[in-house]
Every structure is written in C-alpha cells, then in structure tokens.
Symmetry: C2
C-alpha cells in the first residue's frame, strides 16, 4: 500500500509522514513530489489539481481538517472518496473558543477591561441569560459539542441543521422551513456550517435582521468559513446598533488583509483562524484507523466522515 502526503507550504509534510510510518510500518509512505508513482491513499490539505491529476488509482483522499469545501472544487478520479476529520481534538477547541466569545460578550468582560485600564471600579447590571438564547448553525460533531458546552452555562440553546435532528438540551430546527423561526429564537448566532452553495453568504443582511425576533442586540460568532458572511453587510448593521458585535475567526481571504476594516472595528473581535487547530497525533490515529478498516475490506460507506459530494459535506 502506498500513501502520499501533500500539504500546503505552511504545513511541512514530514511530521505527518513520520507519524503515519510509525502506525503503518508496512506501508510505503512519503511526501508527494510531482511524477511520483500514484498512491492508494492521500493525506492532504488544499492540494492543487496537478496533484490529483496524477492520482488516477487513489481511493481515500483524507483531509486534515473538518471543512472540505476546497477539495470539492477539484476534479477527482471517479473512485476517489473524500474523508474529513470527524473531531480529532477539534471539537473541544471549538467549544472553548465559542464559550469564551459568548461569555466575554454576555458578561461584558471587554467593558470591564476598558474600565480597568482607567483604574475604574465599575458596576454593570447583570444580564439575564434567558435573554441571550444561542443559536448554533450546523449540528455535526462540532456543532453538537459546542451546543452542549453552551447549555452547561444555562443559556437556552437552539440548533439548526439541513436534516432534522434530536439532541438533548438543544431545541432543534431544520431546513429552509425552520430557518426563520431558528433565527428569531436566537440572539447569539454561532456559525459552524460546512461551506456549500446553499450556505455561502448565509450570514447576510436579510437573515441577520431576523435574529432576536427582529430586535437589536444580535451577536455573531463565525468559526466556519469566511464566505458564510457577507462582509459588506456586517459593519452597517453594527454601526446602526442592530447587531451588538461579532467575533470572527474566518475570513473571505486569509490572512485577513492588514487594512481590512474588521481589524479595527470596536465591536468586532478578530482571531487568525485559530479556533480549532488540527492536532496531528489525534488526526493520524483517526486516519490510520480508517485506512486499516478499508484495507481489511470495509467500504467507504461504513466509515464516519466520508463526504457526500452532492450535499457538499
């Protein structure tokens, strides 16, 4: 069995190759170079079409992240299946990131910090958490974990997904039919959706105006993809006071240009796509488990995380 590793310039393939070799000592595992013999499986991040053009015998295309929108733009050999990471240490990071942003907003810690810079002992009237229902868009492994973490802090939790779900402690809405009710019932909106033609630009003016039953005070946390948000719609809604703020970890173009207005807007918190980093050891363990199952005769349809290209995740 031959496994190739093809990552972007920012990610050295060697540590991945070393980890994979330690787990699969009988396989032929190497970083990809143009002209290499075709592989049975590939471990990739944002590979070029040129790479795939050479992989005519490829079976598993293992993405070292949860979002596969970049891979779905490529032309794949007909038998190749895309497999994403299910969790691999990312869901706990997402839960941390979202809870931190939510608590920081709800408890006004930015305001306390500004007061503290002036040596000011301030009093802020406590807010009622029932006034801050949180809506989680996307109820996969990450969304469910994030929703449960939020629920532990006793916020009302709403969830929205394409197909109907039932999750303890989360009031679930689904499909186009449930979307407006979901938005109306949510004040803080957490985006954890896959990026598909149906979700691109979903955080746009007309939808954002439906938050919080149309009342001011909505708050946006985007930890999915920058293209979910219509950048030009966000700032006017903040400046008009319709939205209270936003915490953004992902952007249309990354790194975010240093002159982008998001950096300096007083009600936008920017982080550099840091909400959930891929953890190599856990990711390799998960990919190896799946490769072993395939080699033992399992079909892709039996594995978790295999992408349905028609729905886009």
């Amino acid at each position: 069995m031959r496994i190739t590793v093809c990552l972007t310039d920012n990610n050295r393939p060697e540590p991945w190759v070393d980890n994979l070799r330690a787990e699969l000592p009988d396989a032929d595992i190497a970083p990809w170079s143009p002209g290499d013999a075709p592989a049975d499986h590939a471990v990739v991040w944002a590979p070029a079409q040129e790479f795939l053009d050479e992989q005519q015998t490829l079976r598993g295309l293992f993405n070292i992240g949860a979002g596969v929108d970049a891979l779905l733009k490529l032309k794949l050999p007909p038998q190749t299946r895309i497999v994403r990471l299910d969790d691999a240490g990312m869901s706990v990071q997402m839960a941390e990131y979202v809870c931190h942003a939510l608590i920081r907003h709800f408890r006004e810690f930015d305001g306390y910090e500004a007061d503290a810079r002036e040596g000011k002992w301030s009093y802020r009237r406590p807010r009622a958490r029932n006034d801050f229902p949180v809506g989680v868009m996307g109820l996969g492994v990450l969304g469910e974990r994030v929703g449960k973490a939020i629920g532990q802090f006793e916020f009302p939790v709403m969830g929205w997904s394409r197909s109907p779900k039932q999750i303890d402690g989360i009031r679930c809405f689904s499909g186009d039919k449930g979307f407006d009710d979901f938005l109306a019932a949510s004040r803080v909106l957490v985006c954890l959706l896959p990026l598909t033609p149906g979700t691109r630009g979903i955080l746009r003016r007309d939808n954002l105006l439906k938050l919080n039953a149309g009342q001011p005070g909505g708050y946006i946390i985007n930890v999915a993809r920058g293209a979910h948000l219509v950048d030009e719609d966000l700032i006017p809604l903040l400046d008009a006071g319709q939205l209270a703020g936003a915490t953004l970890d992902v952007f249309q173009s990354e790194p975010l240009a240093s002159d982008h207005p998001f950096w300096r807007h007083p009600r936008i918190t920017v982080t550099p796509h840091a909400s959930a980093r891929t953890q190599r050891e856990e990711s390799v363990a998960q990919i190896v488990t799946k490769i072993r199952a395939l080699e033992a005769g399992a079909s892709f349809d039996e594995l978790p995380g295999v992408v349905d290209a028609s729905r886009g995740y």
Copy 2:
C-alpha cells in the same frame, strides 16, 4: 413572624422586602430601622454590630452571599444561626467567570488581541491541555460546579478541601497533608475557599512556589476573598517569570484603590468583584424555603447552608 432586612448603603432593601412579602404574605416584613421591634429572622448583607445588638430574639441570620466571613466577626445572640446562600444562581456565574479566565489564558486570547490591534495575523503554537492541570481550592457547591465545568473542556482537574471528598472527574486532595501534592499537581490555581483564620493569606509566596511542581508557568484565579492573597508576594513572582499571570476579582480592600499596582500590571486582569452577583429572585426563593421549613418545625441542622461558626463556613 417578623422579618427584617438590613443591607449596606449600596443595596436598597426595598426590592428584597417586596419579593419576601410576595412569598410570605402573612409575615411582618420591613427594612430595618434602629429601635424597631426585634425580628425572628433577618436578611442581611454586612450588617453593623448595632443591628445585631437589637436582635436578641433572632433565630435565622440569612446572608445574601456565599461568604460569611464578615458576619463571623460580629457578636451574635446565642440562639442565632447564620445561613448562607447555597447557590442561588451564583455557581453558574462562577463557572462562567473561571472558564473564561482559564480559556483566555490557555488559548492566549490576550496575545491574539494585542496582535489584532496591530492588524497582525499571527500564529501561536497550540498548547497541550494536559500541560495545564487546574487546581480548585474549595469543593463546596461553587467549587464542585467550577471543577466540573473545567473538566468538560478536558483539562485535568484537581480539587482541594479541608475534609476528604470524592467527586467524579476531579482528583481530590484534602487537609494539610494533601496540600503540597495538590499544589504540585496544579498549574492553574482557582481559589474558591471560604475566608477563615486557616485560609487567610494562603496564596502566599511559599505556597505559590509549589505550583506546577515548582516549575514556572503557574496562573492564579482568585474569586473568593482578597485576603486569601498576599498582595506583596504576587507581583515579584510575576515579574520574575515564576508565575505567568493572575485574574483577580476580589481584593483586600474594595473598591480596589485606583493607584493599586494590580490595575496596571500587564499580567494581572482585574474585575470589580463581578464574578458572581447575588440574584435576588433566586436568593429570596431559597431563603423563603428555609424560613418555611423552620416555621414548620425543622431544626437548623436539617437545612443546607447553615454555618458552623467553629470551622468558619
């Protein structure tokens, strides 16, 4: 039955009186004035000795907070028992506050924020959560809730209490004997102890040096009482790099003087005793339940939250 309400100047008694009257319509309930007839029960926050001198028939002295150190300094009539709030909406606030401070430190969000102010898209190497065991001092209602909230984010959780405890997901240490091992096993230290002669000044140099097996990198979160911390010991340990930082919500003297060095130290986050505000509705409901039980013949020893003056909480 007569109930009096005696709060400090910052807290108007009237809303408490109104809430109590709604729940106990047959009782005689009023804000305290000097010379009033003595009451059966009192709802108080930091009352003066003068108040207690007039309450020779008082049975229940209901404190509208969790910490009763201020009440224990007063001379009480012999039959009077102090009852503290058990939770009344405070534990979820404490869990929020501590998780926010912990995640902010662990995930280096202060650093990302400083980078963002300069429009800088930065990369910080992810830290391993197993390198950040969290030690919770005090395992009452608040400490247990805080420990469980931290555990949900997969940090190793240690706990320390006077008497031995067993709590799922928390490695429990107890007493003087277990204290050094607890400190050595903890990197982030959360203080939720009652203030007693035995815990006053417990966050002092020799103890703080034992954190994290004596290695640098300890972090302090104090949400109990300012007198747990020896102020003069903290800043040298931060400046020497032995401690990585501190989030402090409570101070020896409150409000914290505007020229106190804590306000401006780059590795100290100050909040104005805001970690858990008393919630009136929930507190009144709890106090009323206890008063009803007492009036129906229950003894104080059957009620939760009755203070043992000899141990100080």
